[in-house]
C-alpha cells in the first residue's frame, strides 16, 4: 500500500483557480507500476519520465538532446562512451553516478523476465570508467543504441537505494533524479508528485502534479469541463467541439508516431497472396475520407508507416494515398476476381481511436470496389490472442507506433523472418536492404536503404498503411501545452500561460 493521504481530502480536490500551483493530468487508466523496466505502456512511461531521468532525451520536436549524459561518442562498432552531468542527485540526496547507470542498464539487459528486456538485449555490458564516465558495449553493432537509451524504460535507477531497501520497497516509494518526486499513489485513483527543487535541469512550474486515473473518455471530458483536471489525453473526436466551445478549455493536438495499417496475408492459398488483390484493396480505400469523416482531419494519409521525425523517413510517401475505385476494380479483374471477392478482415474494437468505425468504413469502401468483407471485430485481448495464434484470415487492422523513431524498427515487419509469423511476406531484395541498413552505423546509408525499402513496399503492399493519427489532448485555458511526438507528459514543458 502506498502512503495515505495527508488529510481526509477527496481526490477531486479542485485545483486550478484557488491553488494555482497544482497541475492535474489524466491520461486514462492508472499507471501500472513504478518498475520502469517491467511495463510497456506509454501512459505509464509518461509519468515515469518526470521522476526518472534518461541519459539522453528528445525535445518537443523529437530531436535527441543531452540530458544526464552531457556528451557521448562512439569508440568502435560496439562501444559508446558517455560523460554524465555533474552534481545530479537522487531525491534522497545520493549522487547519480556511472554505477547507477551500469546497475540500471545491465538489469534490463540481462533479466529476461522484464518486459522491456527485448528493447535492451543488444547491450552486453556497461563499463564504468570513472564515477562520471562509462561505456556501453553491445553484442553487435547497434545503430539504434542512441534511440534505445532515449526512450521508454531508459530512466536511471538509484542503485544504492534499491540495494539497501530492496526492490519491493523501492516500488512502494520510488526515487529517481527527475524534476518531480514521488509522493503518493492511490491505486486506480491518483498519483501525486511534488516538485524537486534541487533538480539539475529545467525545473517545473508546478509545485504539485496529480495524475488521475479516469479510464472513461466522457468522464475525463466532464472533469476537464468542470475544472477538476487541467490536461486530459485521448479526447474522442465527438467531444472536440464541446471542449473548444467551452469557456475553460480547448483541444491541443499534434502528430503521434502511430499509423493505422491493414496487414494482408501473402501466403499461398489466400486471395491476397496476389499482389494485384492487395493493390486493389489499397486503391479501394479512401484514406483521406477516413481521416476526414472519422477523425475530423486529425491525421495524415500515408503510404508508409515511417513518419516525419523518424530515421529513414521518405517524404514522397507521406501525406499522400492511393484511391481509385475503377483502378481497384480493374486490378481485381486482372487478378481473376471479376465477379467479386470475399475476404475477412479482423480488427480490434476500443483499442485505438475509432478503430471500429475505421473497419466498418473500410468494409463499405471495399464493397464498392467489389470486395465483400466479412468483419471480425474483437475486443483487444481476444484480438491479440487470435493474432498471436495466427488465426486471422486475409487480413487485420492494427495501429502501430514506433517508439524508437527509427525506421529500423518499423520496417522489420517487411523482413522474411518477422513476416513469417504475421503475413508470410518475403522479398529477397528487402531482406538484403534490411540486413545492410541494420548493420551500418552510418545514418546516411541507413536512411537511403530504408527509403528504398519503403518504395518497394508501397508497391507490393503486404501491409497497407492507411494514415498516421494525431494525439488529442484537452487542455485548460490557463495552460500552455504542446503534445510531444513520443506521447510523454514532461511536466517542465507544461507551462502556465
Amino acid at each position: 500500500t502506498t502512503t495515505s493521504s495527508p488529510s481526509g481530502e477527496g481526490t477531486t480536490s479542485s485545483t486550478g483557480t484557488e491553488d494555482n500551483n497544482v497541475l492535474t493530468v489524466s491520461l486514462g487508466p492508472d499507471m501500472l507500476t513504478w518498475d520502469i523496466h517491467n511495463h510497456t505502456t506509454t501512459a505509464t512511461e509518461a509519468i515515469h519520465v518526470n521522476v526518472f531521468d534518461y541519459l539522453l532525451m528528445r525535445d518537443t520536436d523529437g530531436e535527441i538532446q543531452p540530458h544526464l549524459a552531457k556528451e557521448w561518442k562512439q569508440i568502435d562498432d560496439t562501444t559508446y562512451e558517455f560523460k554524465l552531468t555533474e552534481g545530479v542527485k537522487f531525491h534522497n540526496g545520493d549522487d547519480l553516478t556511472a554505477e547507477d547507470v551500469k546497475f540500471t542498464l545491465e538489469r534490463v539487459a540481462t533479466d529476461e523476465t522484464l518486459k522491456s528486456h527485448g528493447d535492451f538485449d543488444t547491450i552486453k555490458e556497461v563499463k564504468v570508467i570513472d564515477p562520471l564516465t562509462f561505456q556501453i558495449i553491445t553484442h553487435e553493432p547497434d545503430p539504434m543504441l542512441i534511440s534505445r537509451i532515449s526512450r521508454q524504460a531508459s530512466g536511471i535507477l538509484p542503485k544504492k537505494y534499491i540495494e539497501e531497501k530492496g526492490m519491493d520497497e523501492f516500488l512502494k516509494s520510488p526515487i529517481g533524479s527527475g524534476p518531480y518526486k514521488f509522493k503518493e499513489w492511490k491505486k486506480d485513483s491518483q498519483i501525486t508528485l511534488v516538485k524537486n527543487d534541487d533538480y539539475f535541469g529545467k525545473k517545473g512550474e508546478w509545485a504539485e502534479v496529480l495524475f488521475r486515473a479516469i479510464p472513461e473518455d466522457s468522464t475525463r471530458v466532464a472533469e476537464l469541463l468542470t475544472d477538476n483536471v487541467n490536461i486530459i489525453a485521448n479526447v474522442p473526436p465527438s467531444d472536440w467541439k464541446r471542449i473548444n466551445d467551452s469557456d475553460n478549455s480547448e483541444i491541443a493536438n499534434g502528430p503521434s508516431n502511430r499509423t493505422y495499417m491493414l496487414f494482408l496475408r501473402t501466403q499461398e492459398g489466400w486471395p491476397t497472396s496476389d499482389v494485384k488483390v492487395r493493390q486493389a484493396i489499397d486503391y479501394a480505400i479512401d484514406d483521406k475520407a477516413l481521416v476526414e469523416s472519422l477523425l475530423d482531419g486529425g491525421g495524415t494519409p500515408t503510404l508508409t508507416r515511417v513518419n516525419p521525425g523518424n530515421v529513414g523517413f521518405e517524404e514522397s510517401l507521406y501525406d499522400t494515398y492511393n484511391y481509385d475505385v475503377d483502378k481497384a476494380k480493374k486490378l481485381l479483374e486482372e487478378a481473376g476476381y471479376k465477379d467479386g471477392l470475399k475476404i475477412e478482415l479482423a480488427g480490434p474494437t476500443g483499442r485505438y481511436i475509432k478503430d471500429r468505425e475505421v473497419m466498418q468504413l473500410i468494409a463499405g469502401m471495399l464493397e464498392e470496389a467489389g470486395i465483400h468483407t466479412e468483419m471480425n471485430l474483437l475486443q483487444w485481448s481476444s484480438f491479440t490472442e487470435l493474432r498471436d495464434q495466427e488465426k486471422f484470415k486475409e487480413g487485420y487492422l492494427i495501429a502501430l507506433g514506433s517508439s524508437f523513431f527509427d525506421a529500423g524498427q518499423a520496417l522489420d515487419y517487411y523482413g522474411t523472418e518477422r513476416s513469417a509469423t504475421i503475413n508470410g511476406y518475403s522479398n529477397k531484395e528487402i531482406d538484403k536492404l534490411l540486413q545492410e541498413a541494420n548493420t551500418s552505423l552510418d545514418p546516411a546509408v541507413r536512411t537511403a536503404k530504408y527509403q528504398e525499402i519503403q518504395k518497394i513496399a508501397s508497391v507490393e503492399t503486404p501491409i497497407v498503411p492507411l494514415f498516421q493519427v494525431d494525439q488529442f489532448f484537452g487542455v485548460s485555458d490557463g495552460i500552455q501545452y504542446t503534445p510531444r511526438l513520443d506521447e510523454l507528459i514532461y511536466i517542465p514543458d507544461v507551462n502556465k500561460k
Binding site: G10, H117, G118, A222
Partner: protein, 305 residues
C-alpha cells in the same frame, strides 16, 4: 443449526480449492498472457523469450503443479502485469468495492421496497403502472448511459455532485444510483409479485380480523412473508457486486475490484484473477451462508437436512 453452520464453513476451503482449479483450467484454455504483456510491436522472438522466462512454455502438468503447490502454501504470486503481490492489489481495492456495493444495495432497497409494496396494494393503479415503467426503464438503461447522464446533469450542469473519484460521501451517490437502478427494478417487481400472492392468504384475513392497522398487516404479516425471495435476490445482487462492477467503476473512476479483475481477465493475469476470485468467493460463500441461515429466521418451515 450449529452442525449445519460448521459443515458449511468447512465446505469453504474445498469450494475455494475447486474454484481455484477451475480458474486455472479456464485461464489455461483461454491462452497464455505473454502476447498481452508485450506491446503489439513486439517480435516473436521477444515474445518467446519472455514466455520461456516466465515458464509459460512448460507443459500443462508442470504449470499446474507449480500452481497447486503455491496455492497450498497460500501464495498467490505476483501479478504478471503489475509485478507486485496479487493479493495485495486485490485487497487494496476491496474496501472501495464493498463501499459501493453496499451503498447501491441500500439505495436499491430504499427505492424498491416501498415502490413494490405500493404497487401490490393497488395492482394496475397509477403508481403500479408508474413503477412498472420505471422498472422496465431501470433494467433497459445501460449503466454507462445512466452514469454519463447523471454526470452531465448533476456534475457538469448543476455542479451539485463531483464528477468522479472517491473521497467524500457525495462521491458515492451517483455511482450508487447508477448501480442500484437495475437492482431496484428487480426487487420492485419481486416485492410486488410476492406481496400480491401473500395478501391473498387466509392469515392476512386473520390479521385483519384482529382490527390490525393496514400498515402493520402489510409489513408485519405480508412483507415479512415475502422476504425469502426478496432477500435472496438482494444478496445475490450484492454477491455479484462484490466482484466489482466494471462499467460503473470506469465511468466514475471508482477504484474498485471490477476494473482490476476484468482487466486481469483480459490480460490473463492468473495471479490477480486467482486472488480476486478467492477473495470474492470467500465473501460470496459467506453471504450465501448468511442468506441460508437467514432463511430459517424468515421462514421457520424451512429445514436443512
Amino acid at each position: 443449526m450449529w452442525r449445519y453452520f460448521t459443515s458449511r464453513l468447512l465446505q469453504i476451503p474445498i469450494v475455494l480449492l475447486i474454484i481455484s482449479l477451475m480458474i486455472f483450467v479456464l485461464v489455461y484454455v483461454a491462452g497464455d498472457p505473454v502476447a498481452m504483456m508485450l506491446p503489439a510491436e513486439a517480435t516473436q522472438k521477444e515474445i518467446q523469450t519472455l514466455r520461456i522466462a516466465l515458464g509459460f512454455d512448460q507443459p500443462f502438468y508442470i504449470q499446474f503443479w507449480n500452481y497447486i503447490t503455491d496455492l497450498v502454501r497460500g501464495d498467490f504470486g505476483e501479478s504478471y502485469k503489475y509485478g507486485v503481490s496479487a493479493i495485495g492489489l486485490v485487497l487494496e481495492r476491496l474496501p472501495a468495492t464493498l463501499e459501493l456495493a453496499t451503498a447501491s444495495m441500500i439505495m436499491a432497497i430504499i427505492i424498491a421496497v416501498p415502490l413494490g409494496i405500493i404497487s401490490a396494494l393497488k395492482p394496475n393503479g397509477i403508481i403500479d403502472l408508474f413503477a412498472t415503467g420505471l422498472s422496465a426503464l431501470g433494467k433497459a438503461i445501460p449503466n454507462f448511459w445512466l452514469g454519463i447522464m447523471l454526470i452531465l446533469v448533476f456534475a457538469v450542469n448543476l455542479k451539485m455532485m463531483p464528477v468522479s473519484g472517491t473521497g467524500s460521501w457525495k462521491h458515492i451517490i451517483l455511482p450508487a444510483i447508477t448501480l442500484g437502478t437495475a437492482v431496484s427494478a428487480e426487487i420492485t417487481r419481486l416485492v410486488r409479485s410476492n406481496m400480491l400472492e401473500i395478501l391473498q392468504q387466509d392469515f392476512i384475513r386473520t390479521a385483519r380480523s384482529k382490527g390490525q392497522k393496514k400498515s402493520v398487516i402489510i409489513f408485519r404479516h405480508a412483507f415479512r412473508n415475502s422476504l425469502v425471495p426478496v432477500i435472496t435476490i438482494t444478496i445475490l445482487q450484492m454477491a455479484s457486486l462484490v466482484g466489482g462492477s466494471l462499467i460503473t467503476e470506469m465511468i466514475f473512476s471508482w477504484p474498485g475490484l471490477g476494473q482490476l479483475i476484468i482487466q486481469a481477465v483480459y490480460d490473463k493475469d492468473l495471479p490477480i484473477i486467482q486472488a480476486a476470485v478467492f477473495v470474492t468467493a470467500v465473501m460470496i460463500l459467506l453471504l450465501n451462508l448468511a442468506t441460508d441461515v437467514l432463511y430459517r429466521f424468515l421462514d421457520p418451515r424451512i429445514k436443512y437436512s
